[in-house]
């Protein structure tokens, strides 16, 4: 399979990349790692007239952490994320996701910014970015702006980015000592997208309570789906197996997932309840040094 012919640019600076996007408008597609775009071009699901490849732009693949925020360059690969001590220690849900994107070969090239901007409805990062309250920095002709993850994803393969904007960085607040997170994915094989994935971020409070909870699902809607009812249940009293079960049941309500060759809609609903339970338990156990017993 060969992509249709296209005009190819690999500018050495972001400014030139933005100028190319301005010049070519919606005829142009940005390429980051190419691990989603190229397969789609080979299948001729998309055939852009112009490809603007970002691989020569320097300094887009750094991971920096200070006291309040972790800044991840958009061209940081999944492998770089999964093997980063900073990411593993500070943002465990993001490390969980990075090590289950695609397969080891894809993870060597695929990038977090590319995956976010691609916005597949069943990708791993979107749910994690929403759960961790990430912001995406984008540069365009008018300068830079910051977009909250929850506002970024609009539909399958659709973000709020203008055709002339480029994601340059993803920034995620450094969690406090009482916060912890996890991401759990169901897929049939490595390489596959999520049948269902659940990202969760919890804040541990007094007396075994959960003061704050974010629970976000992927694979069950056009965008990441926040299980707000489940979040409220998790915050309403001490976190015990019964509350966990109730939260899982709550997450299943009002879901309207797609059916496809991997799983039908009802299976996705059922498994969402189970995976919400397991993801919350995994995050909670990470936050507790000596308490377990929530099981799965």
């Amino acid at each position: 399979m060969i992509p249709r012919a296209f005009e190819y640019f690999d500018p050495p600076t972001l400014e030139e990349a933005v100028a190319l996007l301005e010049q070519h408008g919606e005829d142009a597609k940005l390429m980051a790692g190419g691990q989603s775009l190229l397969p789609m071009m080979k299948l001729r699901m998309v055939s852009p007239a112009v490809v603007v490849d970002l691989w020569r732009v320097p300094d887009l693949d750094t991971i920096r952490r200070d006291d309040v925020v972790v800044r991840i360059g958009a061209m940081t690969t999944h492998y770089a994320l999964q093997s980063s001590e900073v990411i593993r220690n500070t943002l465990p849900a993001l490390a969980d996701a990075a090590r289950v994107v695609g397969d080891p070969l894809v993870r060597n090239l695929g990038t977090i910014g590319g995956s976010a901007a691609h916005a597949a409805h069943n990708a791993d990062y979107p749910a994690v970015l929403v759960a961790l309250d990430a912001e995406l920095q984008a540069v365009g002709p008018a300068g830079t702006r910051s977009i909250v993850a929850e506002d970024f994803f609009i539909d399958t393969f659709t973000t709020c980015l203008e055709p002339t904007e480029i994601v340059t960085e993803i920034s995620i607040p450094v969690p406090g000592d009482t916060e912890c997170s996890a991401y759990l994915k169901l897929s049939r094989r490595g390489t596959d997208f999520a049948i269902v994935g659940v990202a969760t971020a919890l804040t541990e409070g007094e007396g075994g309570r959960c003061d704050d909870a974010r629970v976000v699902l992927t694979g069950v809607g056009d965008t990441p789906v926040r299980a707000t009812e489940a979040e409220e249940i998790l915050k309403a009293g001490p976190l015990d197996p019964e509350r966990l079960r109730e939260a899982g049941e709550a997450a299943k309500r009002n879901l309207d997932p797609p059916s496809d060759v991997q799983a039908d809609a009802q299976y996705r609903v059922d498994v969402s309840g189970v995976y919400v339970r397991r993801a919350v338990a995994a995050a909670w156990e990470r936050s507790q040094s000596d308490v377990s017993g929530l099981g799965n």
């Binding site: 060969i2 296209f6 190819y8 190419g34 397969p39 080979k42 397969d103 080891p104 070969l105």
Partner: protein
């Protein structure tokens, strides 16, 4: 607009003109450089038969544009052995019967090279997880895993 690609493949420098931007790395290696040890399997980023080392990282060469190879250092299966001496991974596939039809083998070995760089003393689960991007339609995974573990032992012995 065709480009010129200068790349080092298996230690040898190549200068190729008129490389179309849509040319995929796997076709560049096979059709332009004649290195047909790298196979085209699924051609859809699933099977890993086309795996090569690209600037030190194992990648699916059906999912890389050849123009990105400009300035790159690439190792294909043809560059794994040291002259007439097989690489321990190649020996392992021989000793443990790690192949049946052999179609996936070059990709398996390139992925396994990276695996052993990252995990010199892997357990079986690590081998299986790190080879997730490579499919064997003969389903000979058991012997492939044994071959990689055998090679890991040989390489550790050699470096001890």
């Amino acid at each position: 607009m065709a480009r010129t690609v200068q790349a080092t493949v298996n230690g040898r420098k190549y200068h190729e003109e008129n490389v179309e931007p849509r040319l995929l790395l796997v076709h560049f290696l096979r059709d332009r450089l004649g290195l047909t040890g790298t196979h085209v399997g699924c051609d859809s980023t699933n099977c890993g038969a086309c795996t090569v080392m690209f600037n030190g990282k194992a990648v699916k060469s059906c999912t890389v544009l050849a123009v990105r190879a400009d300035g790159a250092a690439i190792t294909t299966i043809e560059g794994v052995a040291d002259e007439e001496q097989l690489h321990p991974l190649q020996e392992g596939f021989w000793e443990k019967h790690g192949l049946q039809c052999g179609y996936c083998t070059p990709g398996m070995i390139m992925s396994a090279l990276q695996l052993l760089e990252r995990h010199p003393d892997p357990d079986e689960e690590t081998v299986r997880l790190e080879l997730e991007g490579n499919l064997c339609r003969c389903t000979g995974y058991q012997n492939i895993v044994e071959a990689v573990l055998w090679a890991a032992g040989r390489l550790r012995g050699a470096s001890a």
